[in-house]
Subunit: 234 residues, 2 copies
């Protein structure tokens, strides 16, 4: 689409980013995007991948996780179309999203900033070693595969009528079983999780996702595999 | 000032509120305003008063504190002009601000909402008993009197160059002594608190106060006294 001054600012910026670092899905696209995010959810350190089929991404995330020996770090796979959303990083051929929380908007917390720096440094180290020709042996990677978003309970006019239950709040990555409390109505009734099997919620009570109709995402644990990998120098 | 369509929305709203519940400092002003706020700071339950000289407010806050037997609740006195800011509640003859945190903007946390309801209910109970003619005996009230705001360290162009130190973050109401860490520069240097005596910081890292040039407020502990009080029925 040609640039057009009547377009919203966000659309113009998206076009500009696609022009600078893409075009998406083209040979000219950048090799790697590291996409830095914060969340109001209690996600801790989280690495986001968009595909289970890219050895480079699996190897990179496996490397980052293993270098963070003193910090917990989870991996979220956003491959299912039901939970995908437009992200800058998808313009590049390979990508990783760094999602760290909890941190409110408009606030810098020293602990979150320190964790972000550790993750970025580790991602850059991996890239450096890869470019230098280091061989990475086959590996497996435990990830949380998101498969569904759960909206807040709403009335017939779309108004939210229940909030995240205190027993679910801040419990990202923890098991939620059928019957466990998920929401609390504004008049104090507990709404249990009514799924058919245990899940692991993430992005619980993220501020930016009220408008996306997502109170939390449901995930399941899966293990990914990657072959050994070494840069092909030409 | 007469209403004027060219004024900013916030100014028009302030005029409307003053017309509805004031006019401020007039005989027609409402008797009591209960003003509900949240903060990104780790303030817990906090009651804010604007004057140390109003027995009604001291008695009400003393009542609220005593009914919250299972919850911690601190009192902040914003009487010093150096730390005052425009607040809706100042339109009424008496007022109390309820300030609860931590909660990010755009998020409802069940625990924060439950605490807000407890505080509002207790304030309304007190008002009800007072209006019914109950006598409240003399009391004392321990409060934190704010006397100074501390801005973020900035460069010559006004850009922030340091963030709240991790040892100060989330430690609202805790003693800060001269020499204790207060900020961390973006290149990792600790900036100690350089005051002349121990203080108790509040509103540490509140999102809305970056633009107000306030990284935290300094307070000292003082004890207020109120006479016995009983409504004068006419």
């Amino acid at each position: 689409m040609p640039p057009n001054d009547s377009l919203p600012y966000e659309v113009k910026r998206a076009q500009e980013i696609n022009r600078l670092f893409g075009p998406k899905d083209s040979e000219n696209a950048y090799d790697l995007a590291i996409d830095l995010h914060n969340t109001t959810s209690n996600m801790g350190n989280c690495l986001i991948m968009k595909t289970s089929k890219d050895d480079f991404t699996i190897q990179m995330i496996n490397y980052i996780k293993n270098t963070l020996t003193h910090d917990n770090c989870q991996v979220l796979l956003l491959e299912n179309p039901a939970v995908q959303y437009g992200a800058i990083r998808t313009v590049a051929k390979h990508s990783v999203g760094l999602e760290i929380g909890p941190q409110p908007q408009g606030v810098v917390r020293a602990n979150i900033l320190a964790n972000m720096r550790k993750l970025v440094n580790s991602a850059l180290d991996f890239t450096h070693f890869y470019n230098e020709g280091k061989e990475f042996p086959p590996c497996t990677l435990d990830v949380y595969r998101a498969f569904e978003k759960v909206d807040y309970p709403r009335d017939s006019e779309g108004q939210i009528i229940a909030i995240i239950h205190p027993q679910l709040q801040d419990n990202d990555w923890k098991q939620l079983k059928p019957g466990d409390p998920s929401f609390l109505t504004l008049d104090g009734k507990t709404i249990p999780y009514n799924g058919s099997s245990a899940v692991y919620p993430v992005f619980v009570n993220e501020a930016a996702y009220y408008e996306k109709e997502s109170a939390f995402l449901l995930t399941q644990k899966v293990t990914l595999k990657a072959n050994s990998m070494k840069v092909c120098k030409t």
